[in-house]
Symmetry: C2
Subunit: 228 residues, 2 copies
DNA sequence: AATTAAACGGACCTCGGTCCGGATTCGTAA
DNA sequence: TTACGAATCCGGACCGAGGTCCGTTTAATT
């Protein structure tokens, strides 16, 4: 899974949890998933699979809160240290559980059918992007919340960087005179899992209102009309 | 400090850390600081002061990361349980450290001189609000980051609710046709301490650019012109 | 002085995260 | 094919910090 850099602060424990070693590639705007399992040793790969399976089972049966590092290790018949070596920390494990859907989503953005994928006008793609994100948030809310990194790393996790880059790209076309970097952060914040959870679960805001809010936000930010 | 409800999930440990008992007041849009120390017993009040002083000293001397509950308790010559009874949890303690500046800021919004306080047109107040928040973030960045609540409570902490209410109020005037509730979340997200830290410290974005970004965001959201 | 509600304190628990001695795997060469 | 050495991985003991519990102490009240 690699997630190059997002857990780089945890150097001491182990050499490093699955690192990308490739060329600089500073501009390659990767998906955050390049070279996922570089070349794991047989037992390591086996244990990795076991751990993911065990973690997924725990989530399904007892909720994300039950995903304790020790519990996962035990359920996978593996030592606790192995879990940390493989995934770095709890957040890393949880994010690994989201990798599959993440990859699919990224693929849909990069090469899927319009309006989510390329081919539609930028503003339309932005609208579709937000709606898709909101749908995703509703589905995987629990995991997304549990997998949220600490404040320092929140904005540096590869998946997030990718999404931000995507939004910034669309924004550059849809609102050329804006600071698309900063504005992309703002737009993404509207789709934040924690916020969506707060609004829907705690405030009783219906999903349609959230969707309308997104469409209106996009319209205002791009200074276009809201198709309603 | 009361923070009614934001640490209500921690019921079992102690009766409750300083709760607000007053009337419903659902609509009173409080500042989040009503009735701060209801009527603490003498020893309790003394220990509370000691603890805050000790915590502040630790922050000043060794940074927010050194503010361990045990360390604070020891530095204040108090039992560990006392810290938790008084402040609920670590976040509560850290937020209490920010109370002073928080109150001052709220007062400035409610009754200070324009354009921050009442008297200026809403859009202008919004602009001033963002700039003030950004300044605040730069000053108290470390504490603000450390005091950030977990994802579930992030949007329910009284200070946050107040700020959101304030922005929503201004927004209702400046952009009457928008969903000011949702939009206020978006605007506030731009000023989030973690984001500001990421952009300035990790991305090297200069403060002026952040400020310009805010002014532009306000202009777009309210569909006005950017005064630049 | 007696009573009672509140506060105290520190032992205790859980869980994330670390460390390191020992076991496995894999490439290499006889 | 087997032997062997090095790199990698394993596992669970260990640590620190947040959070809890409950028997004891102390401040307010009458």
């Amino acid at each position: 899974m690699l997630y190059a850099g997002f857990m780089s602060a945890a150097l001491p424990p182990f050499p490093k949890p699955e690192e990308t070693v490739g060329p600089p590639e500073l501009l390659r705007l990767g998906t955050g998933f390049e070279e996922d399992e570089p070349c794991l040793r047989a037992d390591a790969a086996r244990n990795r699979a076991r751990l993911l399976e065990a973690a997924a089972r725990l989530v399904a049966e007892h909720g994300a809160a039950a995903v304790t590092m020790e519990a996962v290790a035990a359920a996978a018949s593996v030592g606790k240290g192995t879990v940390f070596r493989r995934f770095g920390d709890r957040t890393g494990l949880l994010m690994a559980l989201l990798d599959h859907s993440e990859k699919k989503f990224q693929a849909a953005l990069l090469s899927g059918p319009p309006p989510l994928g390329p081919g539609a006008p930028p503003v339309e793609r932005l609208r579709a992007f937000g709606c898709a994100m909101l749908r995703r948030s509703v589905d995987e809310l629990e995991l997304q919340l549990a997998a949220e990194p600490s404040a320092e790393r929140r904005y540096t996790s590869p998946p997030r960087r990718f999404l931000r880059g995507h939004v910034a790209l669309l924004l550059r076309q849809a609102a050329p005179d804006a600071d698309s970097e900063l504005l992309s952060h703002t737009l993404l914040a509207y789709l934040d899992a924690a916020l969506v959870h707060h609004l829907t679960a705690q405030c009783g805001v219906p999903p349609e209102r959230l969707r309308d809010g997104w469409l209106d936000l996009v319209a205002r930010v791009t200074r276009t009309e809201c198709p309603d």
